[in-house]
């Protein structure tokens, strides 16, 4: 077994362990917070996989919702395993069709297209009450018989799956090609990379992982309305989480989800009312301005500069003092 694989297994264990510890504890509030955090982390991982090809999505609520609605509506017909599988595959098909049209768009135009797509899916749900329950919503089958600790166990498993998928796309086959597509698509094509095909692949995988997050979310309480899933909140959340935690990594979105939730709870506790959202928003902005590479990137750079300091003491410590 290679050192890299061992390190990755260690990472998955480090992600899962605290969640499992919480599931085993007898603290209902903490369990709910952990469930919410894990779902944010899955959605953020989905968003990050796509962003590595330079595509900034503001429409992941669409996949979150389609995955949730799809699995919820198909489970009674096909059973839970097949229902979830087809629901998530549906996200992949939608991403494929949408991607075939929008991924040829450049940067901002793509972002706007994803945003409008998520808004129009919301409308589609509202105008098809016969099929999707319309504005009154649906009653999805609950995960794990509605037991929160067991739900957390299951969702932790889903998070590890999302982390493995994310790592596959950080491997040698995809990472350099994705970064080259993001940075300089002409150079990528001149290196033999089928640019559009890889962008669509990233979009399909990203859509399916976001659908997994949505399926987990919709299976929590047994009742979902369109406003729960097809909202701007789920469009913006993965972006905020990933930028806060650190892009282009598997750990970043997970750390970001934890820290964002922590910030939210602390702000809610200290400020209270609705006003906490303002404080919460301001703190996020401060973080993003102060650490553009995210928490994971910041810590990595710190470790690198420490190492350099150890290698060449005089020069680096002077630089470090300047930086501080």
């Amino acid at each position: 077994m290679s050192a890299g694989l061992l390190a990755r297994i260690g990472l998955y264990a480090a992600i899962a362990a605290p969640l499992l510890r919480i599931a085993a504890s007898d603290r209902p509030f903490l369990v709910q917070v952990a469930i919410g955090t894990a779902i944010s982390a899955i959605l953020a991982l989905a968003w990050d996989i796509l962003s590595r090809t330079g595509q900034v999505s503001l429409g992941h609520a669409a996949f979150f919702g389609i995955g949730g609605y799809g699995s919820a509506l198909l489970t009674p017909v096909l059973g839970p395993v097949l229902g979830w599988t087809v629901g998530i595959l549906l996200c992949g098909v939608v991403a494929l069709l949408l991607g075939a049209v929008t991924l040829r768009l450049r940067r901002l135009y793509f972002t706007i297209a994803t945003l409008s797509f998520s808004l129009s899916i919301h409308v589609v749900i509202l105008v098809t009450p016969g099929l999707t329950g319309g504005s009154t919503g649906i009653m999805p089958p609950v995960i794990a018989g509605g037991s929160p600790p067991l739900q957390l166990l299951f969702i932790t498993g889903c998070l590890v799956v999302a982390a493995v998928v994310s790592d596959v796309f950080l491997g040698g086959r995809f990472r350099p090609a994705f970064f080259m597509i993001r940075n300089n698509p002409d150079l990528a094509a001149a290196s033999g990379v089928p640019v559009t095909r890889l962008k669509i692949l990233a979009f399909v995988v990203s859509g399916m992982v976001a659908g997994l997050a949505g399926a987990c979310y919709c299976g929590l309480y047994g009742y979902v309305i369109p406003d729960d899933v097809f909202t701007t909140n789920w469009n913006v959340l993965p972006l905020a989480v990933t930028i806060l935690g650190g892009m282009d990594t598997t750990l970043g979105p997970v750390v970001g989800a934890v820290v964002l939730r922590l910030l939210e709870e602390v702000a809610r506790h200290l400020v209270g009312g609705v006003g906490y959202q303002v404080v919460y928003g301001a703190v996020i902005i401060l973080f993003i301005v102060g650490m553009p590479e995210g928490l994971v990137g910041f810590v990595r750079r710190l470790i690198r500069s420490r190492r350099r300091q150890a290698a060449e003491p005089g020069q680096a410590s002077a630089k470090a003092r300047l930086a501080l």
Partner: protein, 242 residues
């Protein structure tokens, strides 16, 4: 034998014909110079042949096979690689990762030059001194140029287009890159060099093609082409000599 043939190709941007009805046959196993004053269409020519800007009309074939209108990555698969004058590589990628992209994706099946088997071999072959784990953000201009050549070689090309690979390099670096180009050529790759410096062309190339305002102005051995009155006029105006 013709490695690359261009028949009546035109590339137009609005009313401007950047390449205007050019017909050319580049001999296989040669080093051909593509020269011409600024704005003569050299870069557009490279973009056209590599598929980045397909011609509005005309035919391009590589080793006898038509490649007109193919996607750039498919043209690379057929064996035509190019370098960029100002290579913009992702700063966060290492030398090894950049070279690994064509090694993974551009499988044309030919052998790598110099008996190279992996990214590290190619980096050394191209004279890249920094460790292969060095990030591109830390490389000098001359190392980025070498990396760009290594990246293009990793496409396993039969025809290699070098877009001003020596511009802005020190004399010493230029000499080394000239040596490298000769070595690549000796390994059986047909090379097209886009260059401004006439001394380099005269030393390196057995064949020269001159473009002016998108048209083919002259073609032949470099010494003869440089003596051509029309070529002198295009570069310097009437009454001067090179």
């Amino acid at each position: 034998m013709t490695a690359l043939s261009i028949e009546q190709c035109t590339v137009a941007f609005g009313g401007l014909r950047a390449i205007d009805d050019v017909t050319l046959a580049l001999p296989a196993q040669a080093i051909t110079a593509l020269i011409g004053p600024n704005g003569s269409g050299k870069s557009t020519f490279v973009n056209m042949v590599s598929g980045q800007i397909p011609p509005r009309s005309g035919r391009i074939s590589l080793g006898g096979e038509a490649i007109t209108g193919l996607r750039p990555d498919l043209i690379v698969q057929r064996g035509l690689a190019r370098t960029y004058q100002v290579p913009k590589v992702p700063k966060e990628l290492t030398i090894e990762e950049v070279i690994s992209v064509p090694l993974l994706y551009a499988g044309s099946g030919r052998a790598l030059p110099g008996g190279a088997r992996n990214a590290g071999d190619l980096a050394r072959y191209c004279g890249l001194r920094p460790a292969v784990t060095t990030r591109c953000g830390q490389l000098s201009v001359s190392d980025l140029r070498r990396l760009e050549i290594a990246r293009a070689l990793a496409c396993r090309p039969s025809v290699l287009l070098l877009d001003e690979a020596m511009a802005g390099l020190s004399l010493e670096d230029t000499e080394q890159v000239i040596g490298l180009v000769r070595e690549i050529h000796a390994s059986g790759v047909t090379i097209v060099v886009i260059e401004h410096v006439m001394r380099i062309i005269a030393r390196l190339c057995g064949h020269a093609v001159v473009l002016n305002q998108g048209r083919l102005l002259a073609e032949g051995p470099p010494q003869e082409v440089l003596r051509d009155a029309g070529v002198r006029e295009a570069y310097l105006g009437k009454g001067f000599s090179l």
